[in-house]
């Protein structure tokens, strides 16, 4: 059963020349992990905002087509109801801190306070979330005194504690260093393993290849390719359109053009696949 269903969705920001999304059809099944890739201005963030209800509730402009999340048309409910169904986390961890709370524990509880969750239940849920996110040791710290990776995990925990049906992530690691990236992906992997439905925009294709059930390639507001990660991420069409493919794919592609890659072998996405391929070529 699909939990997110976009039908012929077109959206244009106010004062902009062309639509950010144009004729998008997208279905996400329960428990599925869908990654979205695309160059700048492809409409990736707009897609995140549409699924989580910020379009049309926060950003004005014109939304056409139908967006159904958890069985409800986003247009028909309030923004607060939308974000309960599809929680959103984005790039800058610093700006996701509410600024209203003094400790990580309070920060994570903030969403539950807004939803009117009773105190006992709130405490239990925050404690469980801290454990699951692996940040129980940060509970008493100020959210401002953390590293980027820690802040981003707090931001994710703050959304997840509200128990959304879908988690929408807009480039959650784009401002992280390698350590922060590993921390955040470690947490996402843990969550995905528990069957959470995830829609994630991500540039780091090696990570995408490791996690995603399906990859959707956006360009100019259109879906130009979708399918299994190993198929989409090695699609020659994407390389021509300036998608940031993995360096292994690019190396193998150069090798292919020089006649050094085994004919008929699919291009690699990860290091392991590249090693296999080059071994086969050398043999």
């Amino acid at each position: 059963m699909s939990i997110v269903e976009l039908r012929n969705v077109t959206y244009q920001y106010p004062f902009s020349e062309r639509p950010a999304l144009e004729g998008i059809d997208l279905r996400i099944d329960e428990g599925e992990f869908v990654a979205v890739i695309g160059p700048n201005g492809a409409g990736k963030s707009s897609l995140c905002y549409t699924v989580s209800g910020f379009i049309p509730h926060f950003f004005k402009g014109e939304l056409q087509g139908s967006v159904v999340v958890g069985g409800v048309e986003t247009r028909q409910s309030t923004l607060a109801e939308c974000v309960r169904r599809a929680g959103l986390a984005f790039q800058n961890p610093f700006n996701q801190i509410s600024g209203a709370k003094y400790t990580v524990f309070e920060e994570i509880a903030f969403g539950l306070e807004n939803l009117g969750v009773p105190r006992e239940e709130m405490r239990a849920r925050v404690e469980r979330m801290l454990e699951r996110a692996g940040i129980a040791d940060l509970a008493g710290r100020s959210p401002y005194a953390l590293s980027g990776g820690q802040q981003q995990r707090v931001a994710l925990a703050s959304i997840l504690v509200m128990e959304p049906q879908v988690l929408v992530l807009d480039e959650p690691t784009s401002q992280m260093d390698p350590i922060g990236t590993r921390e955040v992906f470690g947490m996402i992997k843990e969550l995905a393993g528990r069957g959470l439905t995830v829609l994630m925009v991500e540039h780091k294709v090696e990570w995408v290849a490791a996690f995603a059930d399906r990859v959707v390639a956006l360009d100019g507001g259109h879906v130009i390719a979708q399918g299994r990660p190993e198929e989409v991420l090695t699609d020659p069409l994407l390389a021509e359109r300036n998608f940031g493919l993995s360096r292994y794919t690019l190396a193998a592609r150069a090798a292919l053009q020089a006649g050094l890659w085994p004919a008929g072998r699919r291009l690699p996405v990860t290091l392991e696949e590249a090693v296999e391929g080059f071994k086969a070529a050398a043999a």
């Binding site: 989580s52 607060a80 996701q96 969403g111 939803l115 710290r141 959304i159």
Partner: protein
């Protein structure tokens, strides 16, 4: 980056455990009485027998006295000297030098002004030292203060240190490109101009993201909000607040009757 973003000092004391509204009420009662009471020594008595002992009860005497020393003494000292020297009128001359004539009346008036200011500021210092800002806001929100208002207050308190550190980053970036930020006063003022642009506009851009982040946490939900902490409001608190209100009324009435 500093972890501490408020004046609050966490100690356990009878004064700390009062309801935030009671403490706020106490501050305002002290101030109103200090300014309205027709008796000359009221403000002095409030400070000596009210604010100061309470700082000890709240076990923040060291921080309280330090803050008072750094902030209050210079300000009130200056006011005291200026008023003593320049207040016109006065019959009984204490001494005079050059063009100044200091009278008993001007000194008395200066002391009254200073003692009132002392009560006002020191009471607020005591309040800030013993009340966590989010406890105050949680309590006031529960009493019907709009959540957005509470949010604006708390986030402003939190954002000041963030703005400071961002300003430091911008200054460092501009110095690394050869801009002079030290030296003469004119130089320093000139150095402010390229700081304000990035700081202000950068913050405005962040406002949208922050708004999204808060909305994503259900901030505008129409459900009745709950709070993580229970803020105690005991019978003692309610009794104290009525008592303070009574004192304020008495003081105002005494002022009106005294003319």
């Amino acid at each position: 980056m500093p972890e501490k973003l408020s004046f609050y000092i966490q100690r356990s004391s009878a004064f700390h455990s009062l309801n935030p509204l009671t403490k706020l009420g106490l501050v305002f009662a002290f101030i109103v009485i200090a300014y309205t009471s027709p008796f000359y020594w009221t403000a002095t008595v409030i400070f000596g027998l009210g604010v100061l002992p309470l700082a000890f009860v709240g076990r923040v005497q060291r921080e309280f006295l330090l803050a008072a020393l750094r902030l209050l003494v210079p300000v009130t000292g200056f006011i005291f000297i200026m008023q003593s020297l320049f207040l016109p009128g006065g019959e009984r001359e204490l001494f005079h030098f050059w063009v100044f004539r200091v009278t008993v009346e001007s000194v008395a008036q200066a002391y009254l002004t200073v003692s009132r200011i002392f009560v006002m500021i020191s009471a607020f210092i005591l309040f800030l030292l013993t009340t966590h800002p989010s406890a105050l806001m949680t309590d006031l929100t529960r009493r019907g203060l709009p959540g957005t208002f509470a949010y604006v207050i708390i986030s402003t308190l939190q954002i000041i240190p963030q703005m400071q550190s961002k300003a430091q980053t911008i200054i460092a970036a501009q110095r690394s490109r050869g801009m002079e930020t030290g030296g003469s006063l004119a130089n320093r003022v000139r150095a402010l101009v390229p700081l304000v642009g990035p700081l202000v506009f950068g913050s405005l851009v962040e406002v949208e993201e922050r708004a999204i982040a808060i909305e994503a946490r259900g901030f505008t939900s129409r459900l009745k909000k709950t709070s993580l902490y229970e803020i105690a409001d005991t019978r003692l608190d309610r009794g104290l607040r009525w008592f303070l209100l009574g004192l304020v009324v008495l003081s105002v009435a005494a002022r009106v009757l005294a003319g």
